[in-house]
């Protein structure tokens, strides 16, 4: 089965509690289960930390521009999607990603995803944003689909969406 790997990067790492760690693990499990329905495995999940001091205030994301800057400034040099997990993303937006993100993570423009830690919604947000990175646009007419523009949603992926994801350059055979 083809697969994808992700880097979970905690922004303001010392602020993350054991309960937050549990939320992250549950979210990863949700993503693994959701992607498996379209024949994609979640391979390596590597964990990284940016301390509050290193984050330079970007542990609180105030707008989408700041989220972009965060992904510009930090990069893990491997063939996996960088997922920056923040505890606070102000406003109703809970995650941001480029559509069809680059495989050269030093390329100009947003080159990672930002995900807000929001309890039971975190899994949907994570899977949704990684979906964008892998090339999936919003599906506005079907609230049962993972790529519906808001959460909570039904969290489902179609076979066609699975095929789109499989053509992304980060997919491992």
């Amino acid at each position: 089965m083809p697969g994808i790997s992700i880097n979970i990067i905690r922004v303001g790492s010392e602020q993350f509690t054991p309960a937050d760690e549990q939320t992250i693990n549950t979210a990863i499990d949700f993503m693994r289960t959701t992607y498996a329905t379209v024949g994609l495995s979640l391979r390596r999940v590597e964990h990284f930390a940016i301390t509050t001091a290193q984050a330079n205030g970007r542990d609180v994301i105030d707008d989408n521009g700041e989220a972009e800057t965060l992904t510009d400034e930090w990069t893990v040099s491997n063939n996996a999607v960088d997922v920056f997990v923040v505890k606070t993303y102000v406003g109703s937006v809970a995650g941001l990603s480029p559509l069809g993100g680059p495989c050269d993570k030093n390329a100009k423009g947003m080159d990672g995803t930002v995900v807000e830690l929001l309890g039971g919604l975190t899994g949907s947000i994570l899977a949704h944003e990684v979906g964008h990175y892998l090339g999936l646009p919003h599906i506005t007419g079907d609230s049962s689909n993972l790529m519906f523009p808001s959460v909570p949603n039904g969290g489902r992926l179609s076979t066609a969406q699975g095929n789109t994801i499989k053509s992304h350059c980060f997919i491992e055979p």
Partner: protein, 328 residues
Amino acid sequence: MVRVDIPEEDLQPAVLEQALVGRVAHVPASVALGLVARIDLPSVDRAALFEQTVASAAAEPNVRAAAVRMLMRTAGSAGVASFVRMLDAAEERIAAAAAAALGQVGTPDCLPALKRERQGGPLLQKRMAFARTLLAHRYGLVEEAVSLPAFELQAATRSIGTRGFESGRPGAERRQRALQGIKAEFPAFEPGEQHVFEIQCGPRLLAVAVDRRFTGAYGAEALLDKPALPAIVAYKDLEYDEYHPRLLALSRPHPEHGLEVVLTRLSGDPVYVARGRFEGERGELELASVQAPGVPPVSASLRLSPIEVAISGFSEGKATYTRSPQPM
């Protein structure tokens, strides 16, 4: 991008007030902050609600820090006295957010508070220093010491993957949205006083708002006389027709180059530097990017005339300087 959908019955003051301090499980505090600022809530004093959140020990420190910025957007200069008080907050993130707010909406009267010795880590010290610098440029304070982080420039070379760009004028709607986006963060910003130019560089659309007071012969004289904030650059959102201010053009006379303009992030980190000279009312500046993580090498020329700021150049396709998080 994904949004959190909140049930309609929860969009009421009593629920949102509790949500701000984390007491409503299905309405996250971060979402409540945005809702209080955005939706119609008759009879609610938004500024008071944000101030109450900053002061609340029940709210998460991150939420309290974010509430400072929402207070700045809501109250503008009316919040200055509160921000000065918040500089003494025990939580560094809150004091740092208050310092940043003073830089954006404060007046020179705030400088003594921003100069007072305070306990606090590097984030607070950095935000206070940049707030002083920003005030010096917003108000043209010649006698105020300007302190920006040290930087080195990087040279850009044309090769495969470089992208050319040239500024143009946006349509009326994009112009208005860009100005609105800047006004939201800088309440004293005057949209009617701006020339707006835009630059498409790769996936990014940038709007450059240039203050008319710094164009023409009188403007050139002003730029060569004292520090100024002649332009603010906003980036268009990746997904929506919204703009967020991302770069502040801080100009000052330069003994060697004539004029130096440092474009910084709102956090005060330098990103681009332009240097050059004026002849009468016309100026020519060369711009390069700073060696900073995630900033690709850029080379550009800025030609300033009384009615136009023509910006053209190229950007390399990828950043040379990167920074990696620590493995856990």
